[in-house]
Symmetry: C2
Subunit: 217 residues, 2 copies
């Protein structure tokens, strides 16, 4: 079972690493990080690069596709026509599961893969997901057929555990959860727009386009 995790400039590392740390531990998993070209790919903070061991030309029939989200960059190439879109559509013809974390759902939607489907994304990007033809759901993990989307950043961990259970059963998913000791105890209950202090939600909403797109082009 090949699990392909797609990397691109300005991606958010945890969007990719959360699902990776779960799915790569599935029995028989062969995980490959893939980008347009092999080599280091710089994340949104610019302070970290992950290495893509393969280019998209080498990975054409993965069983599972994971697309992380990004922040701070106008992703014209990623969301428009071109080699990435072509690759996503071709790969999706072969996958058993096509998945995303955070604004990775926008990438799938822009490629036409979520049209009319229920899906979730980062809470700041819900409107954009609707504009791209999906039906946004305010849920942490959404399954719609073989398409599995997760809410913002850390939600990829929950998504991957739910997916691991579908792929190899509850026991395997629980063993992976215990292995990564995922017994979350956040010090605050501020992880969703419904629960966080209103002033924090308002401040982030006010700079939504900056958070997603970075400085105006």
């Amino acid at each position: 079972m090949q699990i392909a995790i797609f990397l691109y400039d300005h991606m958010t590392a945890l969007d990719a690493i959360g699902p990776y740390e779960v799915l790569s531990r599935l029995p028989g998993a062969e995980t490959v990080f893939v980008a347009t070209r092999p080599g280091p790919v710089r994340c949104d903070t610019r302070h970290l690069a992950l290495v893509a061991d393969a280019g998209i030309a080498e990975v054409t029939t993965p069983d599972v596709l994971v697309v992380p989200g990004w922040s701070g960059a106008r992703q014209t190439e990623l969301l428009g026509p071109g080699a990435v879109r072509d690759w996503l559509r071709e790969v999706d013809r072969h996958t058993t599961w096509t998945t995303s974390a955070c604004t990775g759902a926008l990438v799938l939607a822009a490629a036409g893969l979520l049209t009319g489907r229920r899906a979730t994304t980062h809470w700041l990007a819900t409107d954009r997901l609707a504009e791209l033809g999906a039906r946004p759901a305010h849920e942490r993990v959404v399954f719609d057929g073989k398409y599995v989307t997760a809410a913002g950043v850390s939600a990829g961990i929950d998504m991957a555990l739910a997916l691991a259970a579908r792929i190899d059963g509850d026991g395997t998913a629980q063993a992976i959860q215990l292995g990564i000791e995922y017994d979350p105890q956040p010090p605050f209950d501020a992880g969703s727009a419904a629960k966080a202090p209103g002033d924090i939600v308002a401040a982030m909403t006010a700079i939504r386009d900056f958070i997603l797109d970075g400085a105006p082009a």
Copy 2:
């Protein structure tokens, strides 16, 4: 404020990326991934490499140090005398906070930094932490002076949020939590040895040395 995240062969990616995704978003944070030498560093699954932008010779006075854990390798060099230990001790003289996730606590303890201190680590490594002179606590995050340790893998996220609050206040930590939408909803309640099914705990405990050290040398 410089945040140094130490990378080494066979580390567990999420141990580093969880704290990174939180702490790098602190106002004024300058995050640097550092290894013995700059360049790609391969993680425990062997399917991913993170890039260290700096070598230890270049990073001598960080404000915050983060040491991730590993799996599947006998870490003789990491836990014994040598350049890494010397660097950890020297750097620790300058830090405001010295932290770890998962078995990173063993690295700190082996360097003598946790002697007599309360600390936590991956649930499979508690005995080893005691052997190295720390006082293991079965808690998700432990503060003892400037030393902050987290339980296994995913606990680094909780540790970093608690630390972010100490560094820049609750509001900042909550904003970061909302930014990474950390509203965990694991599909199972199996993330600790106290809660997971007994047969899974027993099976993992039986192969503890293999999980930590890999194939016998």
